[in-house]
């Protein structure tokens, strides 16, 4: 039982008040009283899709991009949606004033350093969405903030202009070179860490990217804090869809629920070797692995 799951998390009918295209994404703003007030960078919301009689029962989870606790309409929550399957396409197609059932804030936020150390924030694709208010929180504590935004193509970058306001330095990469440096975020990360003497690297994006930034951070002597994107069905800790192997402080690997024990983990604690097939595995040395076999 994690402590965060014991507080009552708000579940509200959120009215969509603004929706706009941003490159390949849809940026949605909901009035979500109670959610905004409690949220911290790195937490997420779980949205019901398709309306009250929807045949798509499972919730879709999105990082909180920003919150305004006391806007004109009450607290608002922003998310950035990549339209992929039926649920995200439904969200992307919504017009203003539609209501969407929202649960949040969920999960553990990014931990903030106690000292004003330099930090590098790395976002892959829409993975940059939660990093801007993280940057603001870090700068408030006197941290120097570098951002690296990467994506396959220019239209899949999110927030390049916002990054220039939010960070002290910004580096952009694209796989095809359509913007910034041609290559991956992990190609430029070592240099950015060295130049800024960064002690913490925050990451959000695809699993493969999180793995490589964890490796780079370790090689450069920095701590990586990564927000994982594991498939989720409920987002609130009851279905076990999102379990993944993570090493605890005692060195023991346990299968933990990424929705309540994550989504933010220390990168060096995640058992990346279990994700190689694209189907998460239970490592043989995980606590209770034998009990999970055969079922």
């Amino acid at each position: 039982m994690s402590e965060t799951s014991q507080e009552r998390t708000p579940q509200v009918a959120g009215e969509l008040i603004a929706t706009r295209r941003v490159g390949a994404y849809h940026h949605l703003t909901f009035v979500a009283p109670g959610v905004a007030e409690l949220a911290k960078p790195g937490q997420f919301v779980a949205l019901a899709v398709g309306g009250d009689t929807s045949a798509n029962l499972l919730r879709r989870c999105f990082s909180i991009h920003k919150v305004s606790p006391s806007g004109t309409y009450g607290g608002t929550v922003d998310v950035v949606v990549a339209a992929r399957g039926p649920g995200t396409r439904w969200l992307a197609g919504l017009g203003a004033h539609h209501e969407v059932n929202i649960i949040g804030p969920l999960g553990r936020p990014f931990p903030l350093p106690k000292e004003p150390v330099a930090c590098v924030l790395v976002g892959g694709g829409y993975g940059s969405a939660p990093l801007f208010w993280l940057a603001a929180a870090l700068r408030e504590r006197g941290c120097h903030v570098e951002m690296i935004l990467g994506a396959a193509t220019e239209d899949r970058l999110f927030g390049v202009i916002e990054a220039r306001r939010a960070a002290d330095g910004v580096t952009v990469t694209t796989d095809d070179g359509s913007m910034g440096v041609k290559g991956w975020v992990s190609d430029v990360l070592p240099e950015v860490i060295r130049r800024s003497h960064a002690e913490v690297v925050y990451g959000c994006g695809p699993m493969a990217m999180l793995r490589s930034i964890t490796e780079v951070a370790a090689a450069e002597g920095a701590v990586a804090q990564v927000a994982v994107e594991e498939s989720m069905a409920c987002g609130i800790g009851v279905c076990m869809t999102c379990v993944m192997p993570v090493v605890g402080a005692d060195g023991q690997t346990r299968m933990v629920r990424s929705c309540v024990d994550g989504p933010v983990f220390r990168g060096d604690r995640v058992r990346w070797d279990a994700f190689e097939s694209g189907w998460g595995r239970v490592p043989d040395d995980a606590y209770g692995a034998a009990a999970m076999r055969g079922h």
Binding site: A55, L57, I103, V238, C239, M255, G288, H295
Partner: protein, 261 residues
């Protein structure tokens, strides 16, 4: 996991560190908050079910346990992986062994699979072996193929189908077993209904078919308040229809058959 029309397919398996951990930590915590626990147990062999029951029995918090649900929808390692719930002999063996390990005042419920030719036969075997009640139904075996990668979408290849999509199957299974009880073909025991319940009206279908209690699974993922909401909606529906007592509605549909049938 894969989402399916009005449901989902899961091959999550039994995630958890095992019964020793449960008995020493979770059950103790549940007791500390005043929970009354209907614990679900599983095993790979009939003997393993009995061992699991014995570990629970030995827990310092066993008095929080009000009943045991025996999840017999697991492959029997000793019988070429055939699911216990699909074979009356294996099902009966599990129930009998578990019964021996538990005090008489702890009711045990056999949880049945709908993936059988004749669910009444399995129900009979379980009740005769000492089950005090039945839970119906577990998930249906299903499969989804990822059409981008053209490979099975869930790691277990096949998975369990749940949610409103399977509700008619649950209603049918409960109906058949309750009918057998009413006709005296098997002893009468209470049925816990589960399968596709999302609203009070859904629950009422299972009750009218013969269920004396309701579990809500997949719908909780859509609406975490579903169990409490369903309970309130069911109470309101029963009141609307003029039932003074819940038990008067249990199996009511069996008395309202079309006489021309």
């Amino acid at each position: 996991m894969a989402e399916t029309p009005s449901g989902m397919l899961n091959s999550i398996g039994l995630q958890g560190p095992g019964v020793n951990d449960f008995a020493q930590n979770d059950l103790v915590w549940l007791k500390s908050v005043g929970a009354r626990v209907l614990a679900s147990i599983a095993g790979n062999t009939a003997g393993e079910y009995a061992d699991v029951a014995a570990v629970l029995r030995a827990s310092p918090a066993f008095d929080a346990v009000v009943g045991i649900e025996v999840n017999i929808s697991c492959p029997n390692v000793a019988n070429r992986g055939l699911v216990f719930a699909c074979d009356p002999l294996s099902a009966a063996k599990v129930i009998a062994l578990v019964r021996e390990k538990l005090p008489r005042d702890i009711p045990i419920f056999a949880k049945l699979s709908p993936d059988v030719t004749d669910i009444v036969e399995i129900a009979r075997a379980c009740v005769n072996a000492g089950a005090d009640g039945l839970t119906m139904i577990n998930t249906l075996l299903g499969m989804v193929i990822d059409t981008d990668l053209l490979r099975p979408q869930v790691a277990g290849v096949t998975g369990g189908l749940s949610g409103p999509a399977i509700r008619p199957v649950a209603v049918r299974a409960i109906w058949q077993v309750r009918a057998a009880m009413l006709e005296g073909r098997i002893p009468t025991v209470p049925i816990i209904g589960v399968g596709g319940v999302r609203t009070g009206d859904d629950a009422l279908q299972l009750v009218a078919a013969g269920a004396s209690a309701i579990q809500v699974g997949t719908a909780t993922f859509n609406d975490p308040s579903a169990p409490i909401r369903v309970n309130a909606e069911l109470a309101a529906a029963l009141q609307d229809k003029g039932f003074a007592r819940f038990s008067d509605a249990v199996g009511i549909a069996h008395t309202r058959l079309d006489p021309r049938r």
